[in-house]
């Protein structure tokens, strides 16, 4: 199975782009890459094409999507509003899976607090979210529950090794991109390549 001829699968990453989430953002990139998957995100969208169209194209290319709905609280910046992007993109994924397109698509919801999803998005009642407790170890644990790769299943320790590699190289990548934040197209792509190279080395 490890020598599958199928091209590497892509994972649509639907996460909040805020400072508090930076560690988990790197964790998602490390964890997804550890399974030999390619992370994709709306951060890549830089062209002038309508954003929604690009999101749909991106989603169509991805076999899996991961949605983190742990940022449901109000924004601190006025006017105070919750972020609707993540639930909206989750809705698009569900529609994508339910036969609006012919490609196979599987989606997974992540949360930091147990039972909160039942209150914030009751339409998903019956769907078990993966609770990462807002920690890197929790996230890796849940990713191991979500994905199974026969023959090359990464351990949480190996995922942590990839994560450490990303953390170590983040200042260099940010400096080269002239960016302060990892939520940047170039930084995201660079981090994904580094994570993939580390995964290939660390996960035998």
């Amino acid at each position: 199975m490890a020598n599958s001829r199928k091209p590497p699968a892509e994972v649509f990453l639907n996460v909040p782009y805020d400072q508090k989430f930076e560690r988990l953002f790197l964790g998602f990139i490390a964890g997804i890459s550890a399974f030999g998957l390619v992370p994709r995100a709306t951060l890549e969208i830089t062209s002038s094409t309508r954003r929604l169209d690009r999101i749909l194209i991106l989603m169509r290319d991805c076999q899996y999507s991961v949605h983190d709905l742990s940022r449901v609280e109000l924004d601190s910046v006025a006017p105070r509003t919750p972020r609707f992007n993540m639930p909206f993109e989750l809705g698009l994924s569900v529609a994508h899976q339910r036969g609006l397109t012919r490609k196979k698509h599987e989606w997974f919801v992540f949360e930091s607090k147990r039972f909160r999803l039942a209150k914030s998005l009751s339409d998903l009642n019956g769907t078990d979210p993966f609770i990462h407790d807002g920690t890197i170890t929790g996230l890796f644990r849940e990713l191991c529950t979500v994905f199974r790769r026969p023959g090359r299943q990464p351990s949480v320790q190996q995922m942590r090794g990839i994560y450490k590699e990303l953390r170590k190289n983040l200042p260099i990548i940010l400096g080269q991109a002239g960016s302060q934040s990892p939520y940047n197209a170039r930084v995201f792509k660079d981090l994904s390549v580094i994570a993939s190279a580390s995964a290939d080395r660390l996960v035998p």
Binding site: M1, A2, N3, S4, R5, K6, P7, P8, A9, E10, S33, F35, G36, L37, V38, R40, E44, Q63, Y64, E106, F108, D128, T145, V146, F147, R148, R149, P150, R152, E165, N169, I172, K189, D190, S192, V193, I194, S196, A197, S198, A199, D200, R201, V203
Partner: protein, 105 residues
Amino acid sequence: MGARIDARFATAKETASVLGVPSSRMKKLVGLTGSTLRKAASGRWHAFKTQEANGSRNKTNGVPVNVYFKKSDSKNGTTPKKRSSTKKSVSRKRRARGKLAKATR
């Protein structure tokens, strides 16, 4: 509940190609991941067994003769120098035997 992945494990090259990262940039990024190991390996002395050394294996009663030289020497075409004996002193017994031989001459 979970997803079974039956696709190929993505290499850095494949990830870069999917994300549209140029190959030159990809090579630099891959270099960052194992940069400490690479630095440690470069500039070290390497032991190579030359044809001459291999040939002399039988002459030296099965004791292999390792010839040490810098990696760059092989490019220059210079012959590697054999390491001279590091033995500095002679045993007392041997010195006494030498003195005796001198006296009887």
